[in-house]
Subunit: 273 residues, 2 copies
Amino acid sequence: MPFPHLNEPAGTLEIIKPQMTHAATLPCKLEVVSTERGSPCSVCSAPESHLCAKVQEKIEEVDCLSSPAMLESTIQTVPSRRSIYHPKEWSEFIPVICQGWAASSITLADGRRQILSFVLPGDMVSTAGFLEPMSGHTVEAVTEVTYRKFKRSDLKALLFAHPDLLETLSRTLVEERLEADQLALDLGRRPANERIARLILKLAKRLALRGMMNDRTMEFPLRQRHIADATGLTSVHVSKMIGEFQRAELIEVSDRSLTIINETELCRIADWR
Amino acid sequence: MPFPHLNEPAGTLEIIKPQMTHAATLPCKLEVVSTERGSPCSVCSAPESHLCAKVQEKIEEVDCLSSPAMLESTIQTVPSRRSIYHPKEWSEFIPVICQGWAASSITLADGRRQILSFVLPGDMVSTAGFLEPMSGHTVEAVTEVTYRKFKRSDLKALLFAHPDLLETLSRTLVEERLEADQLALDLGRRPANERIARLILKLAKRLALRGMMNDRTMEFPLRQRHIADATGLTSVHVSKMIGEFQRAELIEVSDRSLTIINETELCRIADWR
DNA sequence: CGGATAGTTGAGTTATCTCAAATGCAGTGG
DNA sequence: CCACTGCATTTGAGATAACTCAACTATCCG
């Protein structure tokens, strides 16, 4: 039992039921991290092309027009290592990450675990779980995570009422599918150093999109076991590889942040593009 | 250049432009393999829940009503090892497999290759390629393959005109996404024998759905290099594993067909369910 | 302070790979 | 019909990437 306090009763969590009004007044009880990209949710810094943003737009639109109570949402904050979306749990909610990092994974009975993707601010937790709850997948907070829960039934209603949203959903699904295919390629056909280098570069790229890169430096809250579970390796081996990368002055890791020092060489190792 | 005659001019291929009328008279110039499941395409034996079947229904419906020339399709047959859907090719067509097996894969510049899925009769070649052509993926015939090409633009029009189809597409995408996730788990976290056993069981299950299992026996056209590329192993190692499976009397392979002898044990090895 | 969680490092093991050789089969061209 | 070439499969020997185990240290948290 590695995590004895999973799924603690909601009583210990901070819950708000925002009354839907307008972007500027969205009741996020949190500091604004970044609004520069014009993202409709004042909390998160997702690119506006995201499904998240589109849904948000639509919510506002619908809200302004007619059905003010249509989409309730709840904001929660959970500490790191807590599960957000648990397998057995029959979940009627769809979480969207506002702040922090999470990891979506499958765990087998014997403890083997594969992280399928990291979920960053603005990402919907498992687009694939939109229509039906996804059994077998777990989403776990890597850092402290603030997220927003929408009722699945509400979202579905919204979705089917607006075919263009359904199209956006399809596009997102396709995108994620292509990502999943790349992951399979990485796991099936690439050696350890390549996998790790690619993971780092992919994260850097995604963070850059969100304005979360500081030149070559990013917040890097992943533990080595996260990297291991994402790359299909053991954490011991990850440690050795990261050590090598640092000794070769490709990257520098310290104090939960990672700097890419020699991008060219890192890309070469990663067989990037 | 392993396949010097890829993308042969269409002149050498058998092309039909069926005038859309009714299921019974669908102009498939091919023997009927199986119609018992009521599948609308008289050629293939896909379960009727498939997107393929739904689209087909809709085509007929639409056709009966108004726009007879709306969806043209072309039937082609290619020999084994020929590519159906080539990466660089700007493909405006969506193929649907009528007969035979194909493999959808990604190939890297240095020749490493990962097969993402096998495409069986009734499967649309890459649902994910519905909206936009998928660059980077190749679909290659394993056996001789007969397929039907729809114009992407036509299909898209049909899709957006019928939101229920869009929903079916979404569901198919989700399903395939879950498959892709399982593949990542297999490749990242399971040993060779487990991967191979799972591949065999998965294929058996899919074939059974199509009525293509003969008790415990199935046609098995895969070469060991297909299995290797699908499981992230080398064909040498696959050979050894399959050899072990046979010596342990779990399966029997001969003459392009495979029989599951000890299903219980095979499931145990595969960590099935 | 004690107890969990992380990270590092070394030694030895093993699953899988690479290379190579031998065989069989299918297709091709002469 | 036969030689020939290319592909698939099997098998063995040896190499190696990644794993397991274990010990040690550092860090964080109550």
